[in-house]
Structures are given as structure tokens and as C-alpha cells.
Symmetry: C2
Subunit: 221 residues, 2 copies
């Protein structure tokens, strides 16, 4: 369990460690402002310091940690306004990507999105048997595939980074509006199926505005 947590098959170590640290940051295992020692992380994931260092450089450029030479690496702290801006940026980029995706999506991407919706519906019908974590995972993947369907690797990468950060912010308290959310996803996929860029853009924009509103309500803690 914790023993084998980061036991890598001597391959892809850096990427695995990077994902693990990011997951632990997003999952609030490491609290914002906390100092991360390379040796501590190395021990935690059962690797040496080199993969840890490389993972930290990636996470730094993604904005999850920041480090000063010889001083150490610290988990980033997102201000409230920063969290708000994140949602604003997302509201810009995802509709833009969806517009492109309506024109450029491949059949495989379309089918993947439909598959994700089907899996989500199954989970919802089963009464969240897969757990809310499963739905959140599906949601992340949905938005990820949607971004990739835009045909722009840069845009997809940016959306992915944003998605991680928003998960981080949202982790304070998940708004529970999964059924509505997935219904909206269906509308988005329909627009992609119809190759209707305007509808795709508008539906994604509306989807994100609603998520944003739900977040703001939860934000009053």
C-alpha cells in the first residue's frame, strides 16, 4: 500500500513521480506553503533525488510549486482572486477549443467522448457506486479529450494544466451537480457530432459558467 506507492518499474520514474506529487498537492496531502525536501519526497516515493528534482522542475513550470536556488521548494499558494482568475481563463479557453473541436474532431475522439458519457451515466444510475472520485476523474478526462479534439496540442496542454489547478481549488469543497453537468456534456458532444462550432462554443461556455456559479456558492464558507 503505502509501501509500494511509488515503486516504479525502473522506467518512466520521473513522469510517475511528477504525477504522484501533483496528485498529492491537488489532494491537499501537501498544504500550500509547505516546504518539500527532495530527500523526503525521494523516500516517500522510493526513488532517488534525481527523478524528484526533474519532477519538481515540471511542477514548477506548471505553477504548483516554486523554488529558489539552494533555498528549497515550496507548495504554491493560490489566492482567492487567483482562483477566480483561473475560472475566468478557463471560460476563455475551453469554449475556444470547443469551437475548433467541432470542426476538427476525429471520429475516435468523438467516440471517446461518447464512451466517457456512457460510463458517467452508468455511475450516476448506479447511485454513485463508483464513488465521486470516479466521476471527478471522468470529468477531468472529458474536458481533456475535448481540448485535444481542438487539434491544438498547445491549447490541450494549457487546458490540462488549468484543469489540474482548478481541481486543486475545487478540492476545498466539490460542488455536487454531477447529473446536470453530464447532461450538459451530452449537449456539447451533440454539437461536436453536428459539427456546429457556434453551438459547441456556447454550450461549453454555459457549462463552465454554471460550474463557476456553483463554485462561487460553495466558496461562501
Amino acid at each position: 500500500m503505502a509501501e509500494q506507492r511509488g515503486a516504479v518499474r525502473r522506467r518512466d520514474t520521473t513522469q510517475t513521480v511528477c504525477a504522484a506529487i501533483r496528485a498529492d498537492v491537488v489532494g491537499r496531502v501537501f498544504t500550500p506553503g509547505e516546504r518539500l525536501t527532495e530527500e523526503g519526497l525521494a523516500a516517500r516515493y522510493r526513488v532517488s533525488r534525481i527523478p524528484v528534482r526533474e519532477a519538481l522542475r515540471t511542477l514548477e513550470s506548471e505553477g504548483f510549486v516554486h523554488s529558489r536556488p539552494y533555498a528549497g521548494t515550496f507548495v504554491a499558494e493560490l489566492s482567492e482572486s487567483e482562483a477566480e482568475d483561473l475560472l475566468g481563463i478557463r471560460l476563455l479557453m475551453e469554449p475556444f477549443g470547443a469551437e475548433r473541436a467541432a470542426l476538427r474532431r476525429t471520429p475516435v475522439q468523438l467516440a471517446t467522448l461518447e464512451l466517457l458519457i456512457a460510463e458517467a451515466r452508468e455511475m450516476l444510475d448506479a447511485g454513485s457506486a463508483g464513488g465521486p472520485a470516479g466521476l471527478a476523474e471522468l470529468n477531468t478526462r472529458f474536458h481533456q479529450v475535448l481540448a485535444e479534439a481542438s487539434g491544438s496540442p498547445t491549447l490541450a496542454a494549457l487546458v490540462a494544466q488549468l484543469g489540474y489547478k482548478i481541481s486543486w481549488v475545487y478540492s476545498l469543497g466539490h460542488p455536487r451537480r454531477a447529473p446536470e453537468s453530464w447532461a450538459e456534456h451530452e449537449g456539447i458532444v451533440q454539437a461536436l457530432r453536428d459539427r456546429d462550432p457556434d453551438a459547441a462554443r456556447e454550450r461549453v461556455a454555459e457549462h463552465i459558467r454554471r460550474a463557476q456559479a456553483a463554485y462561487r456558492l460553495r466558496g461562501k464558507h
Copy 2:
């Protein structure tokens, strides 16, 4: 000269190497698709492989290179549509940032922008004595400071990454519209001075649309 190119003061090596490689990628010293060997880069910049590796991880997450385990690192290739999308994304993000900047800019940031404009005007009046590279550098910094003035570190980082990539694309052939460009910059700063978010957003949008148009004209090669 080339001898001392990457001779680092035994500090900040990784960041310096990262910037150097990025500059060489943007400057077309390394051509898209080219394979970069760690040892070759280490020799070029007079450092060991470790800083090179870490720099490459950063550049990978920024999208300038891509690497597969054990296979090597390759300079990324930007398709024409990808270049077009880059400009589209910039057209989304920079006006958004400018809107925020009009409300959040600090006096120091405002003064910095004014300083940059003054320096640019001096160069222009001197008949591009500082060289076009100097103006391009000032342009990059202007947009960088403008993005930072939005008060959102995430947004600033994204704009910075985009800026590098756009410099890369533009390096195929610089559109020479520096005088008009800097006149527009003045209008933008005026909007920030007036704390007028709508004007700031619109002027930046117009500025970028014109740069985009100039690029498209040049693009017909």
C-alpha cells in the same frame, strides 16, 4: 564569445541553461524535429548533463521539445494551424489580462511600461540603431509586464509561454510594423493609466488583431 556562451557563475545553472536552449530553439539554431542529445547540449553550454536534463523537462512542459523515455528529446514542430491557433489563444488571453491590469496595475508596473515605451521610442527615433533585436526584446518585455500587471501569476506565466512560442513562429519573418505597434502600446498604457478596463481590453485586442494580420500577410511565402 561562443566559448563563454553558457559559462554560468556556478549558480542558477538550470534556469540559465533552460533560457539558453529556449533561445536557441526560438532562434532556429535548433531546427524543428532535430534530435537534441543531452551530452551535446552539456558540451555546448559547458555544464553537466543534470542541469540539461532538468532544463529539458521544463521546456517539455512548455511545449518546445518532446521526449520519449530512452528515445531522446526532439525539438517540437509547430504546424501552420498550430501557429494560427497560438495567435487565437493570445487574442483571448492578453485582452483578458489587460482588462484586469487596468484595475489592478501597481504604480511601479505602470511606470515600467512607460519606461519601455520611452526606450522603444528612442530606438525608433535613432533609426533602429539598437537593432531590430532590441525592439523585439522590448516588445516581449512590454507584453510580459502587461500580463504581470493583471495580478494573476498564472495568466502571466501562460502569456509568457505563449509569447516565446509566438516569437518562435514570427522568427520565420518579422513583420516590420514597429512604429505602429508602439503607438498602439501607448494607447494601451493610457487606458491603464485611466483605469479603463474596457478600453484596455479593446485596444489590446485591436493591437493583437493587427499583429495577427501582419503575420498572415508575411505568412504568404
